[in-house]
Amino acid sequence: MKRTFSNRFWAALLAAAFLLCAGAALLLWRTPGARTVARITVDGRVVREIDLTAVTAEASFTVQTPGGVNTVTVRPGGICVSEADCPDHVCVKQGWLEGGAVPIVCLPHRLVISLVSGGDGDAPDAVSG
């Protein structure tokens, strides 16, 4: 009797270990495809999308809005507004966006930078336009 219990115990343990491994494998399977994409909109329209996981070095560019100019800087995994000619500079003070759901907003220029999840199985390899 004691022996049978022991077999069952080990079988259960093995099954649990297998399930754990399978779960971990699933997680790991998804991870390499998971991208962090920054979406920049002006007046609600997407003007640029940048795959932050593909950024290897810090770089800056300007976004012209009807209200003025924002200088956007990206680095691996992060994005910020580094300069702006808006009156309040709230967007610059928000600093780096490197995760989380709170977007960078420049109200005077109607510019919003948010992170969107990429890399799901149906996502295209690139977007034309």
């Binding site: 593909a54 770089a59 295209p124 034309s128």
Partner: protein, 326 residues
Amino acid sequence: MCLLALCLPAAARADDSRTFFAMDTVMTVTVPGGSEALLSACEDEVRRLEALFSVTDESSEIARLNAEGRAVLSDETAALLGGALDAAALTDGALDVTLYPVVRAWGFTTGDYRVPDDGELAALLALVGWQQVTLEDGEASLPPGVMVDLGSVAKGFASDRLAALLRGSGVTSALIDLGGNIYCLGAKRNGSAWRIGVRDPDGSGEYIGVVAVTDKAVVTSGSYERFFVAKDGTVYGHIFDPATGRPAESGIVSATVIGPCGFQCDALTTALYVMGLERAEALLETLEGVDALLVDAEGELWATGGLRETFTPMGAYSAAAIHWIR
């Protein structure tokens, strides 16, 4: 754990890609298994071409041509300008690289947007016309006041150059994204076709569908990318009609061209956007080897037959009826 490691897919890693900013846009070159040196070579090539073609960089060949009315051009610049003039002839002037004085007056080169009045536009339109450009034996000349801007075709041309550079280095699979100007080299490493989304012209960031391609460029033109809103609320897009000197309002709000040559696709998307449906259909009837997908102002899709097997409409367009052109 060994089993786990075997389960890991050979997905593209971030270090297979290089993102950089050039030609006033964001570019990403992805070469699965490619080296840092190869990605650097791609970036360097784009920057080299930008230094030749840029209309704002005073030392570029095009800026010198505009300033002096005459310039000896490098092989690359001569090829691009020559190709652009051929495309202008093919599209009956719908693509015109001499629009620069007009585009500048509207403020699209500086961000100081304004609406020029009719008198100013009429005067500027006298300076517009691709037939005024002379290109012989690598030397270009322009009448006084006429200026050339290759911005509408430079990215497509650059994508062809990068594809050639990568092929020459033995690369059989790569994805070149020059600011939404896509060139798919070969297929993905697993043998399946690249899946390229076509951006929804409503500016939502969604796409109207996905096209499956190998060894082809996919280029889309739409005015959602650059525009300004005037004081009276009118939205002005950045694609100009050479006939009017005003942002094109042809009834086409997005034009995508898929074909083996990035330059040709780039030139044709702009032209189709400007031409409107009727002229676009007539031109597409005569072109072989390229496919096109057009969205009109009512949100209807128009496509050439080559897309029957390769284009899958999605999202708001998943149930849309497609009008087949040929």
